[in-house]
Structures are given as structure tokens and as C-alpha cells.
């Protein structure tokens, strides 16, 4: 083989191959950083639930308060998925013949819990508390998205640490009053009001009810969530 060929060979082995490998590695790492973030892996997660429960119907159209079913959210760390009994409060009468409701009745009669598929999940090393966020006046929609418009529940927000901190670092932004139920009631009835909440209620700045409920800065201590 010619000397040039040899030189090219050497170049290939000593320069091009390492470069390609390095490039591939960098690409992998970048890919990992970009595509393995919660934004890509988690948002939009929309598994099929055992019962085709529609939040749009219950929360949006029928305007049932979130806390009617997720009753522990105001009081405890977990929002809790309602026991079958809660469904039966209405469905012992309402739409008993629907095939989906039959599954609920069956669960109640057989004393067999409905196995819902978890959508919103944080890592085990994060301690999220629902009650304190609700007390601080954070709307359910802020983290869970427009649930009242979802037929199938899906994860709307990335629920990543950066996303949490985006909110926690803001000071005195205007938000909802602490009686969240009022807001949800109103928001679920009034589309424009809902849009306003989403926009941070800038328009209401200076109005007395907003001033009363100005939010303090959220904690950014590591040990507020990690322990």
C-alpha cells in the first residue's frame, strides 16, 4: 500500500475513530440531559385507567369540587384517591347501568379495591406535602394542569425539581386566596376566571382580596423536601 494510504490509515485510527467515539459519547450525554429530563419522559403520561373516569365530566361539567373526592389533600401530605364508597355516594343511584359504573358497583359489592394507575409520581427521596401548598393558596391546576378539561387524566407538568423551584423562588407573586375551594368553584364555572388564575392574576394586583393573600416566598432549603 502506498505511504499515503498508510498515513490515511494512521489518521483514521488515531484521529477519526477517537473523534467519532468522543462525538458519540458527547451526543449520548447531551441526549441524556435533554431527553431524559422529566419534561420528555413524564409529561403527557396518560395511561389507560381500569375505569374510564372522566375528570372533564365530574370536575368540569358537573363542577364537583376536587376535595369531594381527594378529601385528604387539604389535611394531609397525600391527596388520596377516593375509596369506592365515595363513588357510590352518587353512583348507587346515578347511571347504574353504564358498563363503567358497573365496575365500580362490582368493586363495592365484592369489597375489591379498584387498582388505579398512578400518574403523578415524585421520587422516593422527595417529600411533597399537599396540605401546606393548598394552605399557601396554590391552585390544584397549577401543578396538575387543566384537569377539568381532561377526559383521561395525564401528567401536564414535568414535576421536576427545577420546575418546583421556579415557583418557590418567586416572591410576592400574586395568586389565589387561601380558600382555594372558592377559586376552584369559580374557575370551574368561569373560563375567563380560570385563564386569569393561570396568568397569575396580574390584573388583580392591588385589589384588597389579593393583597390579603399575597404569597410568601416558598422555601428553597434542601431539607424542606429532601430528608
Amino acid at each position: 500500500m502506498s505511504t499515503l494510504g498508510k498515513k490515511l490509515d494512521r489518521l483514521l485510527i488515531k484521529v477519526v475513530v477517537p473523534l467519532v467515539i468522543a462525538g458519540a459519547l458527547v451526543g449520548l450525554m447531551l441526549g441524556y440531559v435533554v431527553f431524559y429530563s422529566n419534561q420528555f419522559t413524564d409529561t403527557g403520561y396518560r395511561p389507560q385507567q381500569p375505569i374510564a373516569f372522566s375528570h372533564r365530566l365530574h370536575s368540569g361539567d358537573l363542577k364537583i369540587s376536587c376535595f369531594y373526592c381527594h378529601s385528604a389533600a387539604e389535611k394531609t401530605a397525600t391527596a388520596t384517591v377516593p375509596p369506592t364508597q365515595v363513588c357510590m355516594n352518587c353512583h348507587s343511584v346515578v347511571k347504574r347501568d353504564s358498563p363503567e359504573i358497573k365496575k365500580v358497583i362490582q368493586s363495592f359489592e365484592a369489597n375489591k379495591p379498584i387498582e388505579w394507575i398512578r400518574v403523578h409520581k415524585l421520587s422516593d427521596f422527595v417529600q411533597f406535602k399537599h396540605q401546606v401548598h393548598i394552605q399557601a393558596g396554590v391552585s390544584c391546576f397549577e401543578c396538575h394542569g387543566p384537569v377539568d378539561q381532561m377526559d383521561v387524566i395525564r401528567q401536564e407538568k414535568p414535576l421536576s425539581m427545577g420546575w418546583c423551584l421556579d415557583c418557590h423562588r418567586k416572591k410576592n407573586i400574586l395568586t389565589q386566596p387561601s380558600r382555594l375551594e372558592d377559586v376552584i368553584e369559580r374557575a370551574s364555572k368561569d373560563e375567563t376566571f380560570y385563564e386569569e388564575i393561570k396568568g397569575g392574576l396580574k390584573k388583580h394586583q392591588g385589589t384588597p382580596w389579593v393583597q390579603e393573600h399575597q404569597r410568601k416566598k416558598g422555601s428553597t432549603n434542601c431539607s424542606s423536601c429532601h430528608y
Binding site: T41, P83, Q85, D124, F125, Q135
Partner: protein, 984 residues
């Protein structure tokens, strides 16, 4: 000031000899070996490729389900803790507990503040009983000859041969562990009557001798309880009242009440004359070590001094006997007894001479005599309330043992306890010959192994029951979880044999008949029962006082016994802080809990003084064989300063051969030597080789710097600020932290801390701290977030002891924070030094830079050893850490957050003082630990931290710890102050 002349030392030099690696370091868990890890380049590449491929393939997180209730019980709110009052009982003792359950699973045991015997504190044993509940090695099904069966068959078969035996008038014998439950005892008695059974009870730590001594001294067996808070002078003769018993909780609270210098009450003084080195001895103002056989003489000498030199009135007969008593052998002992005598005569009616329950009848009688001289009855010693006591020693089961030997028994039922482990091996063969053996137990233990019909008992946390540890104090046990396995209660099985129904109904009936009826309550029984369950305890009106008139005639007998002093090596056996009498041997938390004095884990050792060891040419970790008439035992030597010459002490409850993997092969069974707890003229032989002892002290040494400050009461009164040490002005490179809201801090009163280690277990349970096993402890990898440093001070032959709880100091200028390359450890706005596990990459720089050495590293995935159902017992509020993560005390930050949120929901901006209680603080029987907000000038912790006794450890480093220690104050007798060193 004498402070500078004090020399503290941690470990006798003999310990630091190089330790040859032997194969004897057996331990049950974590047989992980970091040297086995062999990976060739080729396989590394393979693994790398595989993991890459897997990584890109796994896009979706695993499917997780949420399974709600169908009908949610009212009491259960997911994530919210519910507390149930219950009772923890061992032997003749019981303490009130509160069981914290989350979603129906007990996760923590705390003290019941309404219960007079626990007063809100909880002992290491009680807290660690949670481990037992979730132990994967518990017995799960009833078995017949080792074959699993169902309860129906088991009960039918046992019922059939029991009725048959009753019909044919064959011998049925029942051997149980001691219980104070009035309902269960009543049921045993009923069973005894119905089936013609003879019932025996047995405990290795029996009340047989204490009863015999009371019978001889006062003509009755009412054992009065003592009120240490009423005693100014306490003299203990081998009475380890702060030691490994359930009652120590009450005694520690009462004893430390007058040691905190906070009340107007004068500080009490504790003299300890003892053979071992007990925790009580470690807390003594004056300690005298004596051979067990010499104690009787010492007690009589004290009586003689009181009567002859201090003219305490007594009968003529007693005087005549005491005249014959020889004077103490050494001048130091004489001085010691003179000091006691002068103290107790000045404190008539508020002094107590307390002799250990396991001591000879004669010694205890002399103790009673001394107490009656000092008029202790009616003041320090209660005449109306008596502790539960039973004839449950080897003497009481002697008839049973005779019958066993002559193979006369047809049905032998053993409930609880572990008789085969305690008894000599010769009985094993006799028990095997019995036609029908029934065993009810928690674990498949030694006794279960040789029994035919074996059934699992439910754990106390799964059971209904009651306890009466002292007269008029009735304590209820209620279940906090459904039985995890197919187990039953003793009461249910007995009632089944008696065909009388259900244990729970029976318990209620009995309470209605015997408790409710005595209370003249206007409420209905149902209301009373609910309230009793809520409180956990019911107090009955006190009974008539008993008279305690000492019968002087027996003194002569005592004197004659004292003349028979023995020569040669003496052995004393004590209960263990880890296993008690062996029942807690399967308990990993307790096995890894260092003994408060020796700091040894996972072993029992032969402790002897350096002089004794030298005399027999023994060194630390040498193997020694002890031989008695009935057997031999092999144990390692441990050099323990402060023991009398010619005394060896060891602990019982080790060397189990069955029960669980953790219990097996840990230490040696000292019961093979025979039934006594004291041996004289023992033969011993040095064996070849060594046995490695896993002590926790040594790897955490703070290089001899004076970390514990102490003074005598006199010095303290002269210089109240002695604890403020001089150091050059401190200047920090960093900006000062500003704390706008809370500023969390802690004070630890070294004067109140007795070193019981209850806080260590509390921390383990609360924070999901893993156990690591002996092999890892030997490498210094134990994971305790909170440790107790024990320092010796003074003369090496009779050292004084100080214990110092050492945990993360939450420094303001934390050295760990500035070296973390990934910001995993940071400072919070409330003064906490935070540890963020998910950020930690395990460089261990922080641990390296920590002057307190309180950071712990997960060298292995210690939690990977968890077996079902152990994971149910983990605290859901605290992350379970994995390998390669640094961890340390968080000041129970999960509790802080919970309390803060609770207050926020109530509309409070700040947490009121006293609401936030850390796990260690909660368990502390002497309330030495106080936690709270330093920013609040009215909080208890700010007031305490400003006391003149307050100081920071290694303050001169300008780390500014959040923990303030309150210096230790001793209360020595002026006569003895300078003499202790001469005792050598």
C-alpha cells in the same frame, strides 16, 4: 481549678494491640466482602455496553398502582399517624407505651406520658420490640413434628391428648415465662384446675431471692417499690437500678430529678459498691469494687459502723452479732463506709440502701436491716405499693426438674421463655422422651426444636392483654396491627382447650368483674373500657400499708454466712443490654447497640480488670475456657478497668443455637455453666487463638481532647462558669448566618444523661438506620447517627465514667458544608445542617472534615438485606438510603416539617415551644435532651443553653454548634474527695 489536671482516656492500652484476622468473626447479616469484587476489563466493557443498551431501551417508568380502600375506616387517613396506648412487658415489669401506626402499621414505639412507670419515656428494649414484630424469621404456622399444619388440626390433636391425659390422671406440666397479666394468670390457674395440671413459671432473672429475703426479714413477700426522688443518699450494693431492665426507666427519671441542679432540692449522692462495672456504677459519685463474696461482709461492716460509731439505735441481739463483725480490710474501704455512715445518719428517712435482686438472701436481709435502721420504710420505700414478684427461679422449678429427670411427665407444655436454652443439656434428652410436648413461642427456638406440637404466638403488638407491674397499676395491651402470620394468643389457645370462647371477650369480662367493679364508676363499662384503652392505664386506690418490722434474729445467720468467704476467681453473670436474658437475641437493633460501659456489640465477653488479666497472663481478645461442674463455655477476654481483682463478669443471653439467623453464633451461652448467676472457684483455661471483639469505641476517638467538662458540686458553687474555657478570639472567614424565623438547637444535660442508650435505638427506629453486622462494626462502619461516647477519668484501677451523647452538632460554620463538591450538605435558614441524599455522590470529604466524626457512610446497600415483612416497619417519612450515600443526624427534620405544617394549618407562623420533640429527646428517661427554638428567648432550650454550665464541644474551632452541652457536676463526699486514687 482541678480541671486541667484531669486526664481522660478512652480505652485501656491493651485494647489497641494489633488484631490478627481470624475466621471467627461470624455474623449473620451482610456477609458482603469488598475484596471479592473482581472485574476484568473485558467484562467491564460488556457490562458497560449492556447498561447503555438498557438505558436507551427503558423509556417508560414502571407501572405503579394506587389501590384505595373500598370502604375507608374512619380512623385511618393515609399518611397520618395514629397512636395507640399499649404496654411493653418483660418478666415482672411493664411500662406504658404509645405505638405510632401509619396506615395500620406500627412504625415507632414511644413512651406513654400518662403511665406512671414510663412517664413519656421508652426503654431501648421497648422500642426495639418493633424489630421482633417484623422479624422475617418469626414462626409462621403451627407445626406437628416439624410439619406445617392448620390450627384446627393442631388444636384438635392437642385437645384430644390433653383430655386423654386428664382422664387417665397422667402428669401434665405447664412451664411458662413470667407474666404480670392478672387475666392470663387467672386463666393459667383455671387451666391448672380443669386439667389437673401443675403450673410452673421460670425466669433466669427471677424474684425468688428477693422474695425469700423479704420472707425472712419481714415475714411476708410484699416487695415494696422505692421512690428514688425522695432519697438524698442512695447506696447500691450490686443493684444496677439504671441497668438493662424495664424498671430502669422509672428509676432513671426519679434519680435524675435531684441531679439537674434546677430545683431547690439538694443534689442526691450515689454510692455504689459492686462487683461488675454496671451503668449504675458508671453514674456513681463514689464507687467501690468488691468481689461478690465480700459484699456481705462490707454490708455488715457498714451496719457495725452505724451502730457502734454513729450510735444508731438497734436491738441487743443485733448489737451482739455486729460486735463480732471484723473491720474492713483496707483503710480506703473503712473511709468509704464511714462516709456513707455519716451521710445516711444525717439523712435519716431520706436514705436508701439497695441490694440487687439477684444477690444472696443474706445480703438482701442485711440490706433490709440497714434500711430499717435508717427509717427508710414509709418514706423512700413505699409501704403501700408493691411490685409484682413470683416464685420463678431454679428453686421453684426444682420439683419439675426432678420429674423431668425421672421421665414421669406425659404432657409438657411450655409457653414463652426458652427453657431448653436456660437448662442444662441433660434435660434436653429427657424432654425428648416425653410422649407429648406442646410449645407456644414467637420464634422456632431451642425449645421449639425438640417439641412435637409447636405453635406461633402473636407478638405483643398484635395482641390483647393486660399487665399489673405493681399493685393497683393496671396496664392494657391492645393490638396495633392484625397478626402478620398465622399466629394465636396464649389466651386464645388456653380458652380453646377449656372450650370457653374468645380471649378478647374474656379479658373484657375479667376487667368488668375485677377492675370496673372496684372503681365505683358512674360510667357504663363500655365507656370505662374505651377510656382505659385510650389512656392505656387504670389506677386502683392504694391498698392498706404493710408493716416492715425487721426480724433481728436472722442477722446471726447472715453473719455466719459472711464468714465463709471464698478464695480464687469469681464469676458474676449479669443481664445484657442487648439480649436481656436471651429473649432479645434475634433483635438486630439491640445486638448492634453497644453496651453502655464496654461498648462491645454482637458479643458477650469476659470482663476482668487489667491486674487480673496480667496475673493470669491474659490479653484482650484471648480465648478463655471456663469450666464448672456442669459444663464449659468459651469466651474472649475483655480488659475492663475498675473491676475488683479476681472477678470476671459477663453477660447472659448469647450463644443461642436456634431462633433466628441473627441470634445464632453470637457469643456463648453462659447458662451451660449451671443455674447460678455467681460462681466461685471456677476453673479456667487459656485457649489458643483470639476472638475479635467488635467494640464501637476506638474508631471514633477524639484524640484525648477534653470534650466532657465536669466539676464537683463544691467547685461549681465557687466557679459557676467553670465550663467556659478560654480560647483566643475567634474570627470567621464566612459571613454570619441570619435566622429570621426559627433557629433550632438542642441542649444535652450531661448531669442527667445516664448513658442508657435508649436514644440510640430511638434514632435507629425513627430514621431507618440499618444494622450492619459484626464484620462491618469491626471496620468502624456502624451507622448509628447518635452514639454515646464513654470516657474514663481518674485512676485506672477505679475510674470514673462520663457518657456523652454525640450526634451532628449542626454547626453554624459547618466544616462539612464547605468541602462538599456537589452541595449535598448545606445550611438551612433555620440553622439545620442539611443532608441531601439524592445529591450525594459519596466523596466522604464531609466526614473527613467533621471534627465530631458523626457522619456515617453507606459502604454497602445495607437495606438490601431487608426481607418481607421488614419493609413494613420503616418510617415512611424518612428516605431509606442506598449504597454510597453519606448520612447523619437531621435533628429529626421530618418531625420539624410535620410540626411546622400542623401549625401553619392552624394559622400559627411559629412553632410553639415544646411542640417539636426529636426522637432521642422523646425516649430519654432522664429528660437530658431538650430541643427547641434558640431564637425564642422564652423557650426551654434557650434558657438552658444560657446556663453557666453550658458549653460547646470544640468551641475553639469556631464551628458554632447548635448543641449546647451542660457540664457534668458530681457530688462527692468531702471525706472521700481525694482518696479514690489511693484505692489502688
Amino acid at each position: 481549678m482541678e480541671k486541667k489536671s484531669k486526664t481522660y482516656w478512652k480505652i485501656p492500652e491493651t485494647v489497641t494491640v494489633s488484631r490478627p484476622e481470624t475466621s471467627s468473626a461470624l455474623h449473620p447479616i451482610s456477609e458482603m466482602n469488598d475484596t471479592d469484587f473482581n472485574l476484568s476489563r473485558r467484562s467491564f466493557m460488556k457490562l458497560l455496553g449492556a447498561s447503555m443498551a438498557l438505558m436507551s431501551a427503558s423509556c417508560r417508568r414502571p407501572l405503579q398502582k394506587i389501590i384505595p380502600y373500598v370502604k375507608q375506616p374512619k380512623a385511618i387517613v393515609p399518611g397520618k399517624a395514629v397512636y395507640y396506648a399499649s404496654t411493653f412487658a418483660i418478666n415482672n415489669q411493664a411500662q406504658g407505651i404509645l405505638v405510632k401506626t401509619i396506615e395500620g402499621r406500627p412504625v415507632k414505639i414511644e413512651g406513654n406520658p400518662d403511665h406512671p412507670r414510663s412517664q413519656g419515656a421508652s426503654s431501648a428494649f421497648a422500642q426495639a420490640s418493633l424489630y421482633e414484630l417484623y422479624d422475617p424469621q418469626r414462626k409462621r404456622d403451627p407445626t406437628i413434628q416439624g410439619n406445617p399444619t392448620d390450627w384446627k388440626q393442631w388444636l384438635t390433636e392437642t385437645g384430644t391428648f390433653l383430655s386423654e391425659a386428664r382422664r387417665q390422671k397422667k402428669k401434665i406440666r405447664l412451664l411458662t415465662e413470667t407474666t404480670t397479666s392478672p387475666t392470663l394468670r387467672n386463666l393459667y390457674a383455671k387451666f391448672e384446675k380443669a386439667y389437673g395440671v401443675q403450673w410452673f413459671e421460670f425466669e433466669p432473672l427471677s424474684q425468688e431471692r428477693v422474695r425469700a429475703a423479704h420472707q425472712a426479714s419481714f415475714g411476708h413477700t410484699h416487695i415494696p417499690i422505692v421512690h428514688l426522688d425522695k432519697a438524698n443518699i442512695i447506696v447500691s450494693l450490686n443493684q444496677d437500678f439504671l441497668g438493662p431492665t424495664a424498671d430502669a426507666l422509672t428509676h432513671a427519671r426519679n434519680w435524675t430529678q435531684n441531679r439537674k441542679l434546677s430545683s431547690d432540692h439538694p443534689m442526691n449522692r450515689l454510692y455504689v459498691i459492686e462487683s461488675g462495672f454496671s451503668l449504675t456504677g458508671a453514674n456513681a459519685d463514689h464507687r467501690l469494687s468488691k468481689k461478690p463474696s465480700e459484699l456481705l461482709k462490707t454490708a455488715l461492716s457498714l451496719a457495725k459502723i452505724l451502730v457502734q460509731e454513729f450510735q444508731v439505735p438497734t436491738s441487743r441481739a443485733a448489737k451482739e452479732v455486729l460486735n463480732k463483725v471484723t473491720d474492713p480490710a483496707t483503710s480506703f474501704e473503712k473511709q468509704f463506709l464511714m462516709a456513707i455512715a455519716s451521710d445516711v445518719t444525717q439523712n435519716m428517712g431520706s436514705s436508701l440502701i439497695w441490694v440487687g435482686e439477684q444477690e444472696s438472701k443474706e445480703l438482701q436481709c442485711v440490706g433490709h436491716y440497714l434500711n430499717s435502721l435508717l427509717k427508710a420504710y414509709g418514706t423512700v420505700i413505699d409501704q403501700r405499693v408493691f411490685q409484682a414478684s413470683y416464685d420463678n427461679g431454679f428453686g421453684s422449678i426444682e420439683p419439675l426438674l426432678q420429674e423431668l429427670k425421672s421421665d414421669q411427665i406425659d404432657v409438657f407444655i411450655t409457653i414463652g421463655g426458652n427453657p431448653v436454652y436456660y437448662l442444662n443439656s441433660e434435660y434436653e434428652n429427657h424432654i425428648k422422651k416425653i410422649p407429648h410436648t406442646i410449645r407456644l413461642c414467637l420464634f422456632e427456638d431451642e425449645t421449639a426444636k425438640i417439641s412435637t406440637y409447636v405453635a406461633p404466638l402473636s407478638h405483643a403488638l398484635e395482641s390483647w392483654g393486660d399487665a399489673e407491674p405493681e399493685t393497683g397499676l393496671l396496664s392494657l395491651i391492645q393490638p396495633t396491627i392484625q397478626p402478620l402470620h398465622d399466629s394465636k394468643l396464649t389466651g386464645d389457645i388456653l380458652l380453646n382447650w377449656l372450650q370457653k370462647g374468645d380471649w378478647h371477650d374474656h379479658l373484657r369480662d375479667q376487667w368488668e368483674q375485677h377492675v370496673y367493679s372496684n372503681l365505683q364508676s358512674v360510667a357504663s363499662f363500655d365507656v370505662f373500657w374505651q377510656e382505659a384503652l385510650r389512656a392505656g392505664v387504670v389506677l386502683l386506690p392504694p391498698t392498706q400499708p404493710q408493716s416492715f418490722v425487721f426480724q433481728d434474729a436472722i442477722l446471726k445467720n447472715c453473719f455466719q454466712t459472711s464468714e465463709k468467704a471464698s478464695q480464687g476467681l469469681e464469676l458474676m453473670i449479669q443481664p445484657s443490654f442487648s439480649t436481656y436474658d436471651g429473649r432479645f437475641a434475634p433483635n438486630g437493633w439491640l445486638q448492634e447497640l453497644p453496651d453502655p460501659v464496654t461498648k462491645v456489640t454482637w458479643d458477650n465477653v469476659l470482663a476482668m480488670s487489667p491486674k487480673t488479666a496480667e496475673k493470669f497472663g491474659l490479653r484482650q481478645e484471648n480465648k478463655l475456657e471456663l469450666r464448672s461442674a456442669s459444663g464449659a463455655v468459651e469466651l474472649p477476654v475483655f480488659i475492663q478497668p475498675g473491676l475488683a481483682e479476681g472477678v470476671i463478669t459477663t453477660t447472659m443471653g448469647y450463644g443461642r443455637t436456634a431462633g433466628s439467623e441473627i441470634a445464632k453464633n453470637v457469643g456463648s451461652n453462659i447458662f451451660t455453666l449451671g443455674p447460678q448467676l455467681y460462681f466461685t472457684a471456677l476453673e479456667f483455661k487459656k485457649l489458643r487463638g483470639t476472638h475479635r471483639i467488635a467494640g464501637t469505641q476506638g474508631h471514633d476517638s477524639m484524640a484525648g481532647r477534653p470534650l466532657v467538662l465536669e466539676a464537683t458540686l463544691e467547685e461549681f458553687k465557687k466557679h459557676p462558669d467553670f465550663a467556659q474555657h478560654a480560647h483566643p478570639p475567634l474570627q470567621s472567614l464566612y459571613e454570619e448566618h441570619v435566622y429570621a424565623g426559627h433557629r433550632w438547637g438542642m441542649t444535652i444535660d450531661l448531669n442527667a444523661c445516664i448513658g442508657c442508650s435508649g436514644c440510640v435505638v430511638a434514632c435507629d427506629v425513627e430514621n431507618n438506620v440499618p444494622i450492619v453486622g459484626k464484620k462491618q462494626v469491626l471496620k468502624g462502619r456502624e451507622m448509628h447517627w447518635l452514639r454515646l461516647d464513654r470516657y474514663y477519668e481518674g485512676h485506672k484501677d477505679n475510674p470514673r465514667v462520663v457518657s456523652q451523647p454525640m450526634l451532628c452538632q449542626h454547626c453554624e460554620n459547618a466544616p462539612c458544608e464547605s468541602v462538599c463538591p456537589v452541595l449535598a450538605t448545606t445550611h438551612s435558614e433555620e440553622g439545620l445542617n442539611e443532608m441531601t441524599y439524592n445529591r450525594c455522590v459519596g466523596t466522604r470529604y464531609c466526614s473527613n472534615n467533621c471534627p465530631y466524626k458523626v457522619r456515617r457512610f453507606n459502604f454497602f446497600d445495607f437495606n438490601a438485606d431487608l426481607e418481607h415483612p421488614q419493609e413494613l416497619g420503616k418510617n415512611p417519612s424518612v428516605t431509606v438510603r442506598m449504597r454510597g450515600i453519606m448520612e447523619k443526624c437531621t435533628f429529626c427534620v421530618h418531625r420539624i416539617n410535620d410540626v411546622k405544617i400542623d401549625e401553619k394549618l392552624k394559622g400559627n407562623d411559629r412553632v410553639p415551644d415544646g411542640k417539636m420533640v426529636t426522637a432521642c429527646q422523646q425516649s430519654c428517661p432522664s429528660q437530658a435532651i431538650v430541643f427547641g427554638d434558640l431564637n425564642d428567648p422564652h423557650s426551654q432550650v434557650s434558657k438552658l443553653s444560657k446556663q453557666s454550665r453550658g458549653y460547646h464541644v470544640l468551641e475553639e474551632y469556631d464551628t458554632k454548634p447548635s448543641i449546647t452541652y451542660l457540664a457534668k457536676i458530681r457530688n462527692p463526699h468531702p471525706l472521700l474527695k481525694n482518696l479514690e486514687g489511693e484505692h489502688a
